[in-house]
Structures are given as C-alpha cells and as structure tokens.
Symmetry: C2
Subunit: 326 residues, 2 copies
C-alpha cells in the first residue's frame, strides 16, 4: 500500500507542478506566451533552440524593471535622506550648492547642476566610509524610509510579475543577474532577500574602493572617485567585465537598457529582449518618451523590427506589487 500511495503522490506532485502556472500575475496573452515558449524551447533537450544550463544567462535592469523609479530613483531619495541626516556634521552645506537646496527641500534646484551636482551628492553619501558602514546605512534607510506616494517601504515596491519571472527562469536553470545603472553596493544590500539574487550576480555602477588594514582589521574603504558607470553602452561592457558571456535573455524598461538588449539579442540562437512599458497611471505611473526618468523612445521605435517584447504594465500584469490584492 505504501508504494501505491508514494507513486500516486509522486504522480500528483508532478502533474500539479507541470500544470501550475509559474507566472500567475501575468495575464494570458502574446507576451506571457512568448516568455513561456522561449523558456520551453531553450530548456527542452532535443529542441533546435536548446541552450546548455551554463549558458542560460538572464540579465535584468533594476530601476523601473524590478522596482518602481518614480517620482525619482529610489537611490536618489536615499541620497537626499542621507544628506539631511548628515547635515549637522556639515555646517558648510548650509551655504554650498547642491547641498543647500537639498536641505531647503528644493531637490529640483539641487539637481539643476546636472551630472556634476548628482556626483557631488553621491560622493558625499557613498564615499569615505567603509563598505560595512555603507551597507549599514542602506539597510537602516530601507527599514525606516517610506515612499511619498504609496507609504510603502521601497523594497516592497517591487514588481510581483517580475519576481515570478525571476523565479520561473531560475527554476529552469537560468542564472539571473541584475545589471543596473544604480550603485552596485546599494542594490546588493537588498537584492538577495528581495529578488533572490546574490551579491555576486549584481552588476552596477561603482566608485573606487581601497583596501587597508585599520587597527589590525582588514577594511575596504569607498573612495570619492568614479569607477564605472553601468548605463547605456556601459551595460554590455559591465556584462562583459562581470559575467564574461553574452546573456540570452535581457529585460529593461528604458533607453538606458537599449544597448544591453541590442547586445543580448544580436547573439546566435534563441534570444529574448523584454521592455516594460510604464503605462499604468492608476496602479503605478505612466511615462515614456518625455520622462525625466526612465525615458523610453528608441526602444519603443525599434522593438518591433528587433523582435523585442514590449510589456504593457496595464494589460499584461494582473498585479503590480506583492502586497496588492488581485
């Protein structure tokens, strides 16, 4: 009898796992179908599109692809909050831009200096600390800060359909990587817990680091000097440097991801390029060609000829955030 039970149970478990929808928050349609078909074709032995597991590399942008990015990048909100928290130790900031405007609550003016201002703010909050101190400050911020519109912790503003997609790919022996324009050390703090992506599978922008022994303790110190910008043309470079082989699947949402998708889908064999179109002003935000953040224009223009899939958040996703009731 025991054997019959065991067999029956095994059969039911197998049947249910093959019948269960791995992407329950994705509405039925061409995009969901394309994803499932790609995974099945590349993972079925004997299929002309079969790819050996070690080459199943999938890369994901973070801002606007795995979590929201409005009204401004969440890492920029972290920077602003840190400037405010550190201000008592920096009386000189009261009269020095871009810090003065941040302290007056005028982010727009603070950022009017463009890239230079942004880098100055980033260095003041990311450099001259040990890597452990930086981790701690991000961790503390994540546990207390709340998004101005939703009131949610930032790491709960991740996209449920993308969490399912990551898990689905991994269940099919894909190795999932984040390739972000954001800071590599910032994203690493929450990537493993939030996305199931370990630190060694995060590629991102960085400042330089130096190694020294402080009071007998080996320490990594973050320096106020740019190391690498992992955006646009930088994404294929970061992928080459960090992963060392071309992905077969890449997902993004802005023209900052264009080159990553271009590089990925130009490889031989089956390839998948995915762009998320933020077009749901009710549940998230709607923006594309004219947005100051996450601008998507060339991607929309060329997706069709390049055979990339444009995901409509409004139509393709039954749910946006994990906490939402369906």
């Amino acid at each position: 009898m025991k054997n019959i039970f065991t067999l029956t149970f095994t059969f039911l478990a197998l049947a249910s796992s093959s019948l269960a929808d791995p992407l329950p928050s994705w509405n039925e349609g061409v995009n969901k179908q394309a994803i499932v078909s790609f995974v099945e074709r590349t993972t079925t032995a004997g299929s002309p599109d079969y790819v050996v597991p070690t080459k199943r590399i999938a890369t994901f942008d973070n801002d606007g692809c795995l979590w929201s990015e409005q009204p401004i990048y969440f890492q920029l909100i972290f920077i602003i909050d840190q400037i405010k928290a550190l201000a008592p130790q920096h009386p000189e900031w009261k009269s020095a831009e871009p810090f003065a405007s941040i302290l007056k609550g005028d982010t727009k003016k603070a950022l009017s200096g463009g890239k230079k201002s942004l880098i100055e703010l980033a260095m003041a909050t990311h450099a001259n600390v040990t890597s452990e101190e930086f981790d701690q400050s991000v961790r503390k911020w994540l546990s207390t800060a709340r998004h101005p519109k939703t009131g949610r912790p930032y790491n709960e503003m991740v996209f449920q359909p993308m969490l399912e997609l990551l898990a689905y790919l991994r269940a099919n022996d894909f190795k999932t990587f984040i390739v972000t324009g954001g800071g590599i050390d910032f994203v690493r703090v929450f990537a493993e817990e939030t996305y199931g992506i370990p630190p060694e599978q995060v590629v991102g922008s960085s400042i330089k680091t130096t190694y020294e022994v402080r009071d007998g303790k080996p320490t990594l110190v973050k320096l106020p000097e740019l190391n690498f910008i992992d955006d646009k043309e930088g994404k294929p470079v970061g992928i080459h440097q960090h992963i060392g082989r071309r992905p077969i699947f890449a997902a993004g949402n802005s023209d900052g991801d264009f080159q990553m998708l271009e590089y990925t889908t130009a490889g031989k064999g089956a390839r998948f390029g995915l762009l998320i179109h933020h077009n749901d002003d009710d549940r998230e935000w709607a923006y594309d060609r004219d947005s100051h953040i996450g601008k998507l224009a060339r991607g929309l223009d060329e997706a069709k000829e390049r055979n990339w899939n444009i995901i409509s958040m409004k139509d393709d996703w039954a749910k946006i955030y994990p906490a939402e009731k369906k």
Copy 2:
C-alpha cells in the same frame, strides 16, 4: 524484490559515496585533515561553524595555485608567442624595445624595463582587438603551444590535487572563484573546461573595454588602457567589486595572495587560508623567498600565527599533474 534491490543499491551507493576519498591525490596528514574538517564543520547543520550555502565562497589564485608558473607566467609566454606571430605586421618592432629583444629571443632583456615594458607588450597583444578575436587567439595558442620543459599543453599543467579540492568544495555547495593577477579574459578562455569554473566566477586583471556597433554588429573592443590590477591589495578590492562578500576559504601560493588570505581569514566564524609551497624540484619547481616569480616570504613568516595551512607540494601531494602516473 524490486524494492529490496533498489533499497540495497541506494544504501550501497550512499555508503560508498561517504567512504570514497574525495581527495585521492592528497596524502594523509594534517593539511588534508584540516581541509576535510573545515568542510565538514561548515556544512553540517547544527555545527557551531555551520555556514549557509550562499555564503560558502571559496577563492583561488591561478598562477602557481591551480597551474604552474615557471619558468615565467604562462600568459607571458602567450604574449611572447603572439609578439612573434604578429611581427610581420609590425616591421617597426625590429628596432623598438621591448619588442626587438623579444624577437631576438632575449626575454630577460625585454623585461628589464620592468612594469612599463610588460604593459607595453601586454597592450600590443591584448588590445585593439574585439573580445571575440582575443578569445580566439588564446584558444588557438592553448591548442598548439607546449611548455618548454614538460612538452605538455599549458592547460594540462594544472594541479590534480587542486582540481580535486575544487570539486570537493563544489560537491559541498561551495561556490568556487578564481581571483588571479593574470588577465580575466585570458583565464576565462579555459577556466570552465579546465577547472569547472564559469566565466562569471573569474576575477582578474583587465584592460578597458568599449562597446560599439560595427557594420550593424554589436562588438566589444579591448582598449590599450589599464582597467584594474587584481594583485596584492587589489585582490580584496576585486573580490569586493566582483563577488560582493567575503570568502570563507582562500587559496594562494605567493605574497601576491597575502591580502586575499588576510581579508578572508579576518572574517568572523570558521575560515580557511591555504598557501601552496613550491618545494618539489623533481616533479615541479622549488622556489619561495628569492624567486622572481611567485615570491613567498611574508606568507611563510606569518602563516603560523595567522593559522594558515602551508601545503608542501612534496609531502602533501601524491600527484602533481593529471597525466602523471601515481
């Protein structure tokens, strides 16, 4: 009956796998015992030294640790061979150092200019090519070049005991990385086939790369500009940048690995530092304090107080290269 057979077979398989020696080329002794004890303590649930699988990071130097490095680094032999092969396209090299000396077969004189000469030679052979062209040139070289002393292909001059150690760690859910002073793109060409280490788990020195679309084809081009030197203090920096967490196991053979071991073994909990001492002039080479390559002095002096294990190639290893008869 079938069930009894199955049970018996399963039992025998389990018994034999737990009895089989995972490190057959390691002689019995304190070092082998220390390795096995470390792996058992860190992977046995309930052990006070237990480490969750995601944190089981092990890093290995390459030159002199996973393969030989005498009479000069193998990548330098590749460089010399490439200079000779490319010479017809560079008539100017006949009268310009360090190229002229290389072409006359006087490596010593060519390298007398120190780091500057070495970088000049490296750039002439590693830069201004696409990443695919570079891969091809390394692959071709590996398949044809033979070591001057052993007559073996270079990728057969790897250490059998270290191959076993890598496999043993991986079988216990360690993630194995190479952290080499050598070129990341050079080592990646053979690391997966030779060591079972995929490209994304290779950390190394690099030159800068740029991304461009050439005749409609996305291409990565290697530039004649240094990006990162993954040696000495650079090793913990490279580990931080690439892996993003501190290893619990590190292996090397020279003072270029000192900081990697220092950083690794300064972490909390169980840690393992391993240094290979090249002291077998019969089967390999014997060198340490005064060697022009793979100098090991501080490591020998401080290993004991730091609780690092010094591996004697002569005494600890029953076999050096895979092809050797035991």
